[in-house]
Amino acid sequence: MSSAGAVKTTYREAMRAALRDALARDPRVFLLGEDVGRYGGCFAVSRGLLEEFGPERIRDTPLSESAFVGAGIGAALGGMRPIVEIMTVNFSLLALDQIVNNAATILHMSGGQFAIPLVIRMTTGAGRQLAAQHSHSLEGWYAHIPGIKVLAPATLEDARGMLWTALQDPDPVLIFEHGSLYNMEGELAADAGAVDIARAAVRRPGRDLTLVTYGGTLWKTLDAAERLAGEGIEAEVIDLRSLRPLDTPTILESVARTQRAVIVDEGWRSGSLSAEISARIMEGAFYSLDAPVARVCSAEVPMPYAKHLEDAALPQPETIAAAARRVVTGRA
């Protein structure tokens, strides 16, 4: 990826560049949320934006998710293009009513008169010892809801490019930023811009099995695929990118070639997004399968604080590789 026009950056900086770009390009765009202004965002994504764009467009809000998500919905109804930042997906539960009962339904309930061009960003996932109230992966719940789109940027390109495309969407779009990715460094094209938000991406081609994942576990999965390659197992890695709608054809096409699938999802297994993907593979690729679809999910416990317990509760490269080996060879 190293080219003359590439710059070294981080996921956090790529997100910030996306925000700055959107604020500069469209005067209807503004950011609101807890500590997004003077503090620069709880994960420092919006640092410097208050100084650059002023308090009208970078708005600190009270600690009431329901109130400021509702304000975002109202602003979207009024013709603005609000970006609402929620600190973590755990806290977004306080705004579930606004998101599920209002943002997702108003277009339908107004007979198509009122679209909600709202973008909600929030942090998801574990791995940073933030314990059971800041670490869960509940994006799968949102992927259950018709009327909204759910994105999970896992790469610098997607962190930089998904926001603008989401703002162009007439309907509410939720963007889930995995907390462990903010410090991820890499190179990004200097002219990187908007990307599509409809299709999954094959991040690594392979012939022996398909590993389906998204967000923070993409990198653990690629790590696992690298280990497997050393053992002669060529894993294909699919990054879902969009959790709703799901790019089912890309998954089925891959499984039809590899005959095997393992889904890696940091959410809990029961009633999860991984269950949905597994069901779609059964529905659409049953006769292509050489082995039962397997899943690697988080342990069904509140996320532990202790480092070794948190590590044990989460999908890890070793556990992903072990699941892949079981599917391919019958032995972990």
């Binding site: 005959q259 399968l289 050489d290 019958g330």
Partner: protein, 363 residues
Amino acid sequence: MVEWRVGPGDRVARGDIVALVETEKGLIEVEIFDSGVIESLVVPPGTKVPVGTVLATIRADAEPVRAAAATAPPAAPTPPMAAARLRVSPAARRLAEESGVDLATVTGTGPEGVIQKIDVQRAAAAPEAAATPEAAATPAPDRLAAMRRVIAAAMARSKREIPHYYLATDIDVSRAMAWLEAENARRAVPDRLLPSVLLLRAVALAVQDVPEMNGFWVDGAFRAGAGVHVGVAISLRQGGLVAPAIHDVDRKRADDVMRELLDLVKRARAGVLRSSEVSDATITVTNLGDQGVETVFGVIYPPQVALVGFGRVVERPWASGGMLGVRPVVTASLSADHRASDGHRGGRFLASIARRLEEPEAL
């Protein structure tokens, strides 16, 4: 074995076509003799096996574990039945069905011995790799030569083993031709009958009078045919000859015989006949009238015991009731096996054919 028309789990009824095989006589559609459910396909497509080899096993209704051969009776060792349901991945199962691979013969290399797609691919490739060059290297001339060898063997055996006797008689077919003309005049073109149909029917019905013409000479004794299945000698455009059977000609209406005859000629020339048609004939009729031949003395197709030949229908001066007239006449000949019948009976047989052609409306 060229291709399977059924797969494991398919329900089949007696007479269904289950496979296409290539023999020296051309492509043959294999019919099944029993009803039930296909248990497994034993011989994969592209494989060359001796006649009599078990091609597939079927499970008869209400019989949980019985193996029945889908091919001809000869007893070949029955493959071991799977004691329990095989562990087969969906992908492997589908590929096996598509490629006709019997899963019971495939070794699974997946987790816990599960048969995976790659295992079926290997199994399918193994016999094909061996058989394909042979099959592909059988161009038309070779196939023709092979058919020639089969005819040669059958005819040589016939002349070596069968003491033929020959009889011929001229038959006045004026009534038959007049009836046919009137009948065809009121029929739509596609429904019209050929004279051959009346001849076939006359032969089949004459068998009722002289049953020893219909059957086989096997192991030093005559064995009557189970029905009257008339083999029809059909010359092929590229050379060679087949004589597939129309079944139960004595019990079928002329229209049905006509339809089946057309179908048989078409399929024989396309090179696709059914196993029962190829093997079931109990008596054979050859008609060389098209070539202008007036009399044909044929060679019996063993182990049959009689062959009836017809020549061209020609107008001849014909004395009848003290008057000389011109009548359409056909010469019917009989080649018969003297071991199974005598000239006296042969004469009666030809007379019976002549008599039946006098009453065409009964045909």
